[in-house]
Each structure stands twice: as structure tokens, then as C-alpha cells.
């Protein structure tokens, strides 16, 4: 299963776990499954109105910043990170 690295601010929701294994073939599925296991975490990551990741959050899959957001494909052994996006010129 993909491994999700939990940002420090959200680790209170995962009982202090820094990495968790969550099923999913896309970032959207990973976020939904993450919320099943750790209720409330989706609110930090998902903007229902925009049907997108929360503004200011970037998702990194296997070391590369995704340009596809929720639609990004995630492999069975992928690593998924959620980091603050950087304005003015750089992705994390």
C-alpha cells in the first residue's frame, strides 16, 4: 500500500504517527481512505467547494511535485507527501 507522510500539524489526528499505510490508486482515493482511518484529516487536505486539494497544499508523489493534484496516480509502493505550496516561483 502507498505510504503517506503526515505533516506535523496533522499528526495529532493520526495519534502521532508520522507515516501511515493507506490504500488508493489516486491521491483522491488516498485522501478519502486516510479520512476513513483518521476522521477529520480530510478537512485539512480537501476543499469540497473547489473539489481540489486545499489551496496552499501541494502533493508530492515519489519525490515529484504533482501537477495533477487529486487525479495523480499512486503506485502500490508510492510515497505520498503533503507540503505547503510555495508562492512566487517554486514547488516543494
Amino acid at each position: 500500500m502507498p505510504e503517506v507522510w503526515i505533516p506535523p500539524r496533522m499528526q495529532a489526528l493520526t495519534g502521532g504517527k508520522q507515516q501511515v499505510q493507506v490504500a488508493g490508486r489516486t491521491v483522491r482515493q488516498v485522501v478519502n481512505n486516510l479520512d476513513q482511518e483518521f476522521p477529520g484529516i480530510k478537512e485539512y487536505l480537501y476543499d469540497a467547494e473547489a473539489d481540489d486539494l486545499v489551496a496552499g497544499i501541494a502533493v508530492i508523489v515519489d519525490g515529484e511535485v504533482s501537477q495533477m493534484g487529486l487525479l495523480e496516480r499512486v503506485g502500490e509502493n508510492s510515497e505520498v507527501h503533503f507540503l505547503p505550496a510555495i508562492g512566487g516561483g517554486m514547488k516543494p
Binding site: 507527501h81 505547503p84 508562492g87 516561483g89 517554486m90 514547488k91
Partner: protein
Amino acid sequence: MLDYQPNIVLSTQEYNVVGKRPIRPDGADKVTGKAMYGADINLPGMLHGRVLRSPHAHARIKSLNTSRAAAYPGVKAVITGADLVQPSGRASELVEGAMTNMRFLSNNVMATDKVLYKGHAVAAVAATSPHVAEEALSLIDVEYEVLPPVMDAKDAMNKDAPLIHERLAAMSTASIRAGGVLDDDDPSQGTNVANHFEFTLGDLEEGFKQADVIVERDASTVAVHQGYIEPHTGTAMWHADGNLTIWSSSQGHFMVRENTARLVGVPISKVKAIPMEIGGGFGAKLAIYCEPLAALLAKKADAPVKVTMNRTEVFEASGPTSGTNVRVKLGATKDGKLTAAEAHLIFEAGAFPGSPVPGGAQCIMGAYDIPNAYIEGYDIVVNRPKTSAYRAPGSPAAAFAMEGAIDELAEKLGIDPIEFRLLNSAKEGTRRATGPLMPKVGFIETLEAAKAHPHYSAQLEGPYRGRGVASGFWGNNTGPSSAVATITPDGVVNLAEGSPDIGGTRASVAQQLAEVLGIPFEDVRPQVVDTDSIGFTSNTGGSGVTFKTGWACYTAAQDIKQQMLERAAKIWDVSLDDVEYVDGVLQHKSDPELRLTFKQMAARQNPTGGPIVGRAGVNPGGAGPALAFHIVDVEVDPDTGKVTILRYTALQDAGKAIHPSYVEGQIQGAVAQGIGWALNEEYFVNDQGHMMNSSFLDYRMPVSLDLPMIDTVIVEVANPNHPYGVRGVGEVGIVPPMAAISNAIYQAIGVRMTSLPMNPGKVLEALWQSNGNTS
């Protein structure tokens, strides 16, 4: 006579057009004065806009009366903050990408109830001449209740500090994002701390336990300006059908279109933004100031309006970079392996949230493999102009602290500073302090090139002279981009793209198209076209254009190639599989008689199926980080404290230098800016929050006499995510200079400078203190 070769390119793969140095297509118009910059636009019946700005750094607007100005002869329109749309205060993502808080953007373009920095726009006038408009500004009556300004981030973080925004939300709840405004029914107290975030890796405490040597250091920087030659400007004209045309100089006319539409209150589709040539941006032209004001004045006056800042307005009311405080602590074993690192970054955002502290935090340890790490960042609002991006935003200030500490650690361990970095360098697969794994980078190759460079082994003789080195990391960026290529009957490609050209990118993207098609560079005519004429193209920023728009041009060229193959098969009545395209020639794989050059096929477009149009809309990932390493020799005058740069060599992994001259130019320009930032530049602000040096006479930027030749070494470790291996080059060159110069000063006089600028006064003071003389 040099005893070594300057400006080396360590090329790993050769191409026909890529990697060569053709003459830039925009060069002739620029050097003959024919290029049209933002303020060069003049329309029939055009009015001139001028802006009334706050004389206070922090004040409440008690009353604002524009009636006397409106009645002044020649005045055609007056606007205030009430004329701008006041959008939601929640941070949001624009339709076309970048995150912003539109309420703050609106309030920065023009204040409503409070002014938050000296120079903050309060009202604007459009009149028949600039002089009339300026005269009318003096007739606008504003009554202020002056409030105490908060000029420093640490002061602003105090619990009893005056609040810049009474309703600014802290990052305490998930539903309110960084830099948002509290809901009306939310009883929470506002804050000056717009954002606080952390990164953790491994076990920090255990990491420091493993260390034999620990170094701690505080470093600070003050606000500096990008110093572009061309001030901000915007010209607006409304059409009878309700459409709006804007001419401006920016790093993204699609950004201009969307932001202006939102602040003026019209659909995006009603706005056409025309990109003019740009006289420098360095990140600061990723924001808008004049365009919405010109549009609103033009609407009221029913005539075109141009609004242009003067230099003082640029200093006081556009976006410099942050003043910063950074503390780092590093630990290493006696054999030179880093075991732990922590960093605390506090950045001033200016009057509205959004400093480059996320960039600083994510870059500060980017060059190194550190198993245990902690990083935190604070984004703090203060009564200064809202900061803008400035070349590798956040990373230079972070590197000033980090690279000084690395230097100190290497010295304490008795290890050569390049060897120390080689022992700890980030490489493909390194776990970054922020979590993700490092993609392929060329830092080791860059360090090896530095070690082998004659500069590093050259004797440096004489007193008060020292050599310093430093590394730099920048993540680079990408984004959506578009390209459309058409072909004239005589075989020249007209290439339309949407990336404003601030660094020679017309050439670098056209070279990629020419390479695919096997045609001479001179047979491609690249143009940056308006928002109605090309698909969305993200901003010129993040050193991303040669990567992303290069990808678009590469893809558009492949499209042309495919169409030409199909046309040739049709002409020869053969299978498509039997036709190939080699070096600009279409040929049958087995019949040498069947052959058409690119130009011959161009002439036969219409009768074989109509015009051939190559097109691409892309959003490529994998921009790949940039890493740099600099070597500098300085001499310090012990009587005056003046630091002279004797020799400078900048090495950088470019992936593949599409046009090496422009890569060298980017590196040299970045180093020149870094030297200015290191030695002289600063916003000199008094206790009332007034900038006291808001002109180029008093704001000391380096001139040619201050700088030696800056030698470059381009290292090419191909980025696997680009067809020619490109990685961005424009920004990382500004990251190492401040730390490298500080480290060189230490070698020269034995004093570690930890605060910028390292101007003569500060150096002298530090020398006196080190000598025990404080008089």
C-alpha cells in the same frame, strides 16, 4: 591574460541547435530602441493616472473626501478603495492556479479603512496630463488616526503588539487557511502571525547526541528590493461591448487578466491582457498594482488611462523581499558526517500575509543529507509594503544562516569545506529534511568541478584577503504552458507562446522547436502573444519557462513533424510507416528519390490538406531542483571596512544549457544581485516606518565598478524529466553569494558577519569588537 578558461560548459550531450549560442530574436529591437515596454503605449485620448499614497506606516482612515479633486479642471475620474471589489477574505486558489487571498490583494492595490504601510495607495486620479493629476492629488482630503507602526517581525510576534489586521486568522483551525480572515461570527482574536509550520525528520535529540561538534548561529537580513529598471505600469481601455484591454509589463499576463478581472468585477473572458516587453522583474512582477486602478479610472472617465509608478513608488509601494531572522543548529561527527540540524525561520511578510518563508524552510537543508532534522517557519505581518517574490524567494536568507554554520562546522572539524559538503551532499534518493526523496541532481558533480577549478587552488596572497565558499539550493517550478506554431510558405516557423521573456526564453524555447524539426534557429520567429491568442500559460517564475514552455514547443514541433510525415506519405502515395523525418528532411526509407526538405514541404501545405499548425498544451511535472556552488575572494579595508570582491566563480548544474550564453547571463546577474544584497543594499527605515533611501541615488546597488568578471561553470547533469535534460537556472545563483562573501570576510579578518548588509560600517564595528575596541 587569464591563466585559465573562463565560462566553462561541461557538456554531456551535443545537439545541432540546443546548446548553441544564436543571436536572440528580440535583441535588435531592444538595442535600437524599437522594443515597446509597458509605459511606451500611448492611445488616442489617453488620460494619465496618479495615485495618492499614505504618508503614514499605520493609520486608520477616518474620512476621505475627493470632491475638490474631482472638480479640478482636467480631472476626469477619481477612485478610492470603495471602487474595488472586496472579495472573500479566505485564501483561495485562482481558476488558473496560484493561491492568493483576493481580499488582501484588493486591499493592497488600494486601502479601504486602514493604511498599512507608508506609500499604501489611498485614492487615484485620472486627468488630461500627469501634472494635472498630481495637482489634483493634493486636493484629496484624508483624515488619519495615526497608529503605532510595527516594523519588525519579532516585535510583531509579541502578544501586546498592535494588530496590523484585527481579523487575521492564525493557523489554528483547518477550515481557515494560512493568511485567511476570521469569519464574522468567529470570536477568536486576530494575530500578526499569519502562518506557522513545521517539518520533522528522524529523531532530532538522538541526532545531536551522536554529534561530536555542534554549531549554533543566528543570522538576520533586512528588506531589499529587486531593483528592476522598469517601474510598474498598466494601461487600460474599455470597449463599447464591455470588453477590457490591458497593456502591462508583468511576469504573467494571464495572472494580470485574472486578478484584474476579479478586482474590477468582470468575467475573465471580458479581459484581454497584452504583454509588453519587460524591463526586469526578478519575481516582483508576479503581482499587480497599476492595472486595476487604470481599469477603474478608465471606466469612470470613459477613456483609456495609463498608471505608471515612479521610482519612489516602486520602492515604497511594490514588493521588496523580507527582512528575516534565522537560527540554525548543526551537529556532526568528528569524521564529518552531519547527524542533526534544526532551523527556525521568521520572515516579515509586509502588510499582508505571504512572505517567502515556505521557500526558505524547504530550501535551507536542501543541499544536504541530514538524517535528523527539524524546521519551522513563521510568516509575520508588519507595517511594511507587502513582500513579493525575489529570485529564489526565501532561499538566500536561509542559506546565509545555514552556509555560515556549515563553514564554521567544517572549520571546527578541520575538514576542507568542499570535502565536507561532498561528505554530506544531497543526491538522488536522499531523504530531504522536508520528507520527500531527492530526484536526480548534479550537486556532487558541481562540487567536483569546484574542487578542480583553478580558482579554488589559486594562491590568495596579501593581508586582509580571504576566500569563501557556499552552496545554494532552489526547487524550481513548472506549470501549464501552451505553444502554437504555424509555417510560412517559404518555410519559416511563427511560434506563438505565452511566457513573458525576462531571460532570453524566446530563444531557449525556439531552439527546442528548431532542434526537433532539424531546421536552423534563424528559421523560427518566436513571439509572446496576448491572452486571446494562446492557451493559458502560467507565470514566468520559478526558473520554469525553458522547462515548461520548452516542453510545449517540443510537443508542438512533434505535432508538426507528424503532420509533415502524413503529408509526405500522401504526396508519394506510400505507407506512413515508410516515411521518416531526419534532420529537417522527409524521406522514403528505401527510395532515395522520394525526398522533401522542410522548406519544400512548407510550400506544399495548402494543396496537401491546408495549413500545418503545430500545437501543444502541457502541464509537465519533474522540473528538478537546481544546485549551485560559489567561490569568492575578497579584500577588506581595515581602515574603512569596505569589502572589495577580487574574484568570483559560480558553478551550477543546468541539466542542459539550451543557450549557454543566457545561462551564464542568468548566473552572472544573480551573483551581481547577491553581491549587492550582501554588501550594501537595504531598506533604511526610520522609527516612523518611513523608508529614507527610496531612490537609486541612496539605495546602493552595485555598479560595474563594484564587480569583477564573474566566471561561470555550467555543469550538465541531465534532468530525466525533460527531453533535452533542462532544469531551471535563473534563480539559484542568488542563493550562495551572501554566505560565500561572509565566509570570505571571516577568512580575511577573522570575524563572522551574521547580519546583512555587510557594509563598511558594520564590518568596521565587527572588527573593532573583535579587537576589544568598542569606541
